[in-house]
């Protein structure tokens, strides 16, 4: 695994290997000494063109627990706000001796460009690019689902599991990566959203589409993943009539959560709008694995950094 740009880069076995490695990383995180010497002397750059708290901190924690040095680089307060191009930023980072770059951008394809334009020959990890993909989020979701839904999770996939993804599919890179990864691992995915928040071309995705959350829940589910309504991307409005109506029809209320089977879990990639797409009682309830997702995120990102960095530094230098 040289880069992680898209779930398309992974085979089913690659994905299972990443999850199994994360399992091992999680095991080391319960020890009194949590730091591993694996990536000592390597430098990971967090290149964030877009605001982020949990993803950036999660990558930072992951790199530090593997003993890598981490440089945080955010658009605010850097030359990026003076109009420096992605190319010049990449050349600068290369010259400074970065061994891997974790990149988040509001432009779809930024990570792909960085990996393939020939500016820098280092592993690139996509930490979210526009409305395209967010592969490490999908991996941590799959990891969380596997832990809760599969007995003896190591080595197995998610065959036969049913996952409902609800909300702003149109603007969600998390949904795109999850549809690809969950179906790669054998789960069946149903997307639920108002018609205006379903992207064009969804027919070619390996999933079902429904406009009714109640109908989707009635068919039974092993997990429900709520997405944040990304109002900052909804320029011009008109995606749904009112917030109240959206919340009534597509929000995960206590009543809807009670209709799920006993073993079903509720996920949310965060940040949450409590009381809007998810009721506070559900977010804090026994089905919720939202806090655990954050914890698993560190293990999964340790696994990804290990897989892209451990084998490739020698040939790169």
């Amino acid at each position: 695994m040289k880069h992680l740009i898209s779930i398309d880069d992974l085979t089913r076995q690659d994905a299972i290997d990443v999850l199994d490695t994360a399992e091992h990383m999680a095991q080391t995180q319960s020890r009194s000494i949590r730091k591993l010497p694996t990536l000592v002397g390597r430098t990971v750059v967090n290149l964030f063109f877009e605001d982020s708290t949990r993803t950036r901190i999660s990558f930072e924690a992951a790199a530090k627990r593997l003993s890598a040095d981490i440089i945080n680089f955010s658009a605010k307060g850097s030359s990026l706000s003076k109009g420096e191009s992605l190319k010049d930023t990449a050349l600068t980072l290369d010259a400074m001796g970065a061994d891997a770059i974790v990149v988040r951008s509001s432009s779809s394809g930024a990570a792909h460009l960085l990996a393939n334009a020939g500016w820098i020959d280092k592993p690139i990890v996509n930490a979210g690019d526009g409305t395209h993909e967010h592969p490490t989020q999908a991996l941590l979701d799959a990891y969380t689902l596997r832990r809760h839904l599969v007995e003896g999770p190591t080595g197995s996939d998610l065959a036969g599991k049913r996952v409902i993804i609800v909300g702003d599919i149109l603007h969600s890179r998390v949904a795109r990566s999850n549809v690809k990864l969950l179906s790669l691992l054998g789960a069946s995915v149903t997307l639920v959203a108002p018609p205006a928040l379903i992207p064009i071309g969804v027919q070619s995705w390996p999933c079902e589409v429904s406009y009714s959350l109640d109908a989707a829940i009635a068919e039974g589910a092993d997990a429900v993943m709520m997405l944040r309504v990304q109002r900052e991307r909804m320029v011009g409005g008109g995606f749904f009539p009112t917030e109240g109506e959206y919340s009534r029809r597509f929000g995960l209320s206590t009543d809807r959560a009670d209709r799920l089977p006993d073993h079903a879990v509720v996920l949310h990639p965060g940040p949450m709008n409590r009381g809007f797409e998810i009721a506070s009682d559900v977010a804090d309830g026994p089905r919720s694995v939202i806090v655990e997702q954050v914890n698993n995120g560190v293990s999964v990102r340790m696994s990804v950094l290990y897989h892209v960095l451990a084998a490739h530094t020698e040939e790169a230098s």
Partner: protein, 193 residues
Amino acid sequence: MTDTPTTRTEVLRADEISRALTRIGFEIVEAQKGEDDFVILGIHNRGVPLARRIGESLRRTGATDREIDDFVGTLDITMFRDDLAQHPTRVPYSTDLPPSGIDGRTVVLVDDVLFSGRTIRAALDALSSLGRPRNVRLAVLVDRGHRDLPIRADFVGKNLPTSRREAVRVHLTETDGDDAVLLERPLTEEETR
């Protein structure tokens, strides 16, 4: 032909491996001077079945009456290696310690072949992140020499003088289907002719 032609000599047969492990077991107990609180940790891959076999022979002979999982565990050292960049990445194995842990105990590390000593260096680092053993001992089935580091084994199945051009292959039923230790040597040009 793509591979260089090699000769193979069997240096330990199945019964000799079994005798060597039983003897190592006795030596471990003897060195403990009656204290039955040691922990045996097998290093992945082939150290794991070897550690288990040593543990089983100790139970069979009555040297200990503890359950096997109470004093035999496994140790993965993948994340502690210093040569990760030279190999393709692999999924780490699990580290399973006996429930008692390793703090204040004697830990006996078990591996198949002792060569450069780098595996053991990594294993010692891995141990220190797990706890603080009273002391650490090393048991190996074969010591083939050529150390890169100041490390030696306390319990050795067989000392096997080798040249660096030779390779030692350990086969175990659990991992390879049969029990044997083989020495492989590339043929010289004269021999190939």
